[in-house]
């Protein structure tokens, strides 16, 4: 009988405590893996990519509020900017393109943004990636071409089961109870292929449709034809790049100049989003702390399980010693058991953790439009197995020392 078989026998003999130890370790590791994976991926999503938007031209107010509204379709824009000012900004030599939009409408809980139709052709939602209506990619139909047409983001279409030809009436506002434009029925002519960005969670209508919606009043209707009085919520700006792909350094001057005016401000998402991340960072610190705590508790549970199992096995170990097992052999048996349990828990935890990310990313994608990958390898994935080996060794150390020091004669003294 091999020593491995003795180890597996022992694990099987104590299958309840072994199973519970493996499960609790797997739970702790799964939490660690999923929290760290989601944290790293969201960090990447928030801070690295900026969702393909170099800068947002928005009204005066909180830059964070502007980013949340323009990029994530959350919050509300703190005001409006003049079309004429937007036109002036996009003529700056370092601005290569601009896509104006108007937010503030909604339908069934999703934002309805009025936007320039070049959004679907020229806008890059991630570097080098344009929106698509390709069926093979999950989209359908086309972009809007007339006043009463609309396009649904992938997540909106999925959540509301929207099909081409379906109609809707936009709500004038983003809060419950806001009035509905009952006489303005728009038809969905396109469903965007999924992008893994918050743009999947919005409905888009032509920019000019906004001005002509019934109930907006004469002043707003006038904006459709008179550029001098026209207002927009903001604009996505594409800034020229220098060698190496970095933003043109002149963006800081542009930002300063715009901020000196009373008309608008230039917000650079990659500057603002880390601040947002810092604000909400304590949440994932707490989650991380909980995950670490669960893992440590699981290890403590394993330690107590091994100690109590050892109490039951004193006679068995003494018997093995009497059969010639050396002290270091029984020490090794206990350490191996402990390491096997943590290793198994670690491997299961890895699987569970990525499972949680897979399930979570599906809902996160629908809820926020952000794309998370279950296959993403975080720093936790790299360290989990070595960490489990160390924890297994530490958890088994004291029980193994006890087994090492166990007195054969005291535990096997025959009656004379």
């Amino acid at each position: 009988m091999s020593l491995w078989r003795i180890v597996f026998k022992s694990l099987r003999q104590h299958r309840l405590s072994t199973g519970l130890a493996v499960f609790s370790i797997a739970l702790g590791v799964a939490l660690l893996i999923s929290v760290i994976s989601l944290r790293e991926q969201s960090h990447h999503n928030f801070t690295q990519e900026g969702l393909g938007i170099d800068a947002v031209l928005g009204p005066k107010g909180s830059p964070l509020q502007i980013v949340l509204n323009a990029l994530y379709h959350l919050e509300e824009m703190p005001g409006k900017i003049k079309w004429s000012y937007y036109k002036k900004v996009i003529e700056d030599p370092i601005v290569s393109d601009g896509i104006p939009f108007i937010s503030g409408h909604s339908f069934a809980g999703f934002r309805v943004n009025a936007i320039d139709d070049r959004f679907f052709t020229d806008f890059e939602f991630l570097p080098g990636k344009h929106f698509s209506f390709n069926r093979n990619a999950g989209g359908d139909g086309r972009s809007f071409q007339s006043r009463n047409e609309a396009v649904a983001g992938w997540a909106v279409a999925k959540m509301l089961d929207i099909k081409l030809g379906d109609t809707f009436n936009p709500v004038c506002g983003v809060n419950a109870g806001d009035p509905i434009h009952v006489n303005d029925t728009l038809t969905f002519v396109g469903i965007m292929a999924p992008t893994g960005t918050p743009h999947d969670r919005a409905i888009y209508i032509p920019l000019k449709t906004f001005y002509t919606l019934e109930g907006h009043g004469q002043d707003v209707a006038q904006m459709a034809v008179d550029e001098d009085c026209r207002e927009i919520s903001g604009a996505y700006l594409k800034i020229k790049r220098i060698r190496g792909g970095a933003l043109h350094p002149g963006i800081q001057d542009l930002k300063y100049n715009i901020s000196q005016s009373s008309a608008a401000q230039l917000v650079i998402p990659t500057e603002v989003l880390p601040r947002l991340f810092n604000i909400i960072g304590w949440v994932d610190h707490i989650l991380l702390a909980i995950a670490v705590l669960v893992t440590l508790l699981a290890t403590l549970f394993l330690f107590t399980a091994l100690i109590s199992a050892l109490r039951e096995r004193r006679r068995d170990i003494a018997l093995m010693r009497s059969l010639g097992a050396q002290r270091r052999t029984v020490f090794g048996l206990i350490i191996t058991e402990s390491i096997l349990i943590t290793l198994l828990g670690g491997i299961l935890g890895l699987c569970f953790g990525h499972g949680i990310v897979a399930i979570g990313s599906y809902f996160i994608k629908i809820e926020t439009g952000l794309r998370f990958s279950a296959g993403y390898l975080s720093v936790a994935d790299i360290f989990v197995i070595p960490s489990m080996l160390i924890m297994g060794f530490l958890a088994g150390l004291l029980p193994a020392i006890q087994a090492y020091r166990l007195s054969v004669l005291k535990n096997l003294t025959p009656v004379s």
């Binding site: 026998k9 059969l323 010639g324 004379s416």
Partner: protein
């Protein structure tokens, strides 16, 4: 240091000036005190005596489980008092088969697994067929995959005998092997043990306080309350 027990020897056990003292509450008392004792290779010896006279302690010393305070203990040509603990473990794994009165078997292991366990620590390749044959020899062919809790005490003792024999040790030490058995099974177990030892060429030392067991051996050693050992014929007191 890897031990080698391949040397030829005539005496299975040689004990000279052996003394084992125990300390209890600062008071020291002698448990075993043997001037000279020899057991020849292949001999079968029964040791008897009152409780606490040191019979089991003597077996522990021969098995290398306990180190004497003073004296020479040579077992199978190996001077045990000069070996470290790990080396004595190695020696025990290879050369000694130990049978206890109770708690003989590992409860979570079947009869065949318990027997195979006898070879695990002796660096021998586990020989399942040899284990099965031994269990059959012990009349346990239908009990191979039974756990100790599914067997009678007598059957368990026979498994323990098979386990002690499977690694082909030089010496079998049996400490009250029939202490938990009824008289009918006592004789059965002892007969089987003696036959098996004879067949496998093992030296057998049996500690017992049962008269029918003692009287079945030609060579008998009586431990006196004085903690001195002698046998009627050959032992120097």
């Amino acid at each position: 240091m890897e031990l080698s027990f391949t040397g030829e020897y005539k005496m299975a056990i040689t004990i000279d000036n052996l003394k084992v003292d125990y300390c209890n509450g600062g008071e020291s008392f002698t448990v075993v005190d043997i001037l000279s004792w020899h057991v020849e290779k292949g001999e079968q010896v029964a040791i008897s005596g009152p409780s606490g006279s040191g019979k089991s302690t003597l077996l522990h010393i021969i098995a290398g489980l306990l180190q004497p305070n003073i004296g020479l203990v040579r077992v199978c040509g190996q001077e045990l008092t000069q070996l470290g603990e790990a080396q004595r473990d190695q020696f025990r794994a290879k050369s000694i088969g130990y049978i206890f009165q109770n708690f003989n078997l590992l409860q979570g292991y079947t009869a065949i697994e318990n027997v195979l366990m006898g070879m695990t620590f002796s660096s021998q390749k586990p020989n399942r067929q040899a284990s099965v044959d031994l269990l059959k020899e012990m009349g346990l062919c239908s009990r191979l995959n039974h756990y100790p809790s599914q067997m009678s005490i007598g059957e368990q003792q026979r498994v323990a005998i098979a386990r002690a024999l499977v690694k082909k040790p030089d010496i079998i030490l049996a400490d009250e092997p029939t202490g938990s058995l009824d008289p009918l099974h006592t004789i059965d177990v002892i007969v089987k043990l003696r036959q098996a030892c004879q067949q496998h060429g093992c030296t057998l030392i049996v500690v017992s306080h049962e008269q029918e067991v003692i009287s079945s051996f030609e060579k008998q050693v009586f431990f006196l309350e004085l903690n001195r050992a002698f046998d009627g014929k050959a032992v120097t007191v």
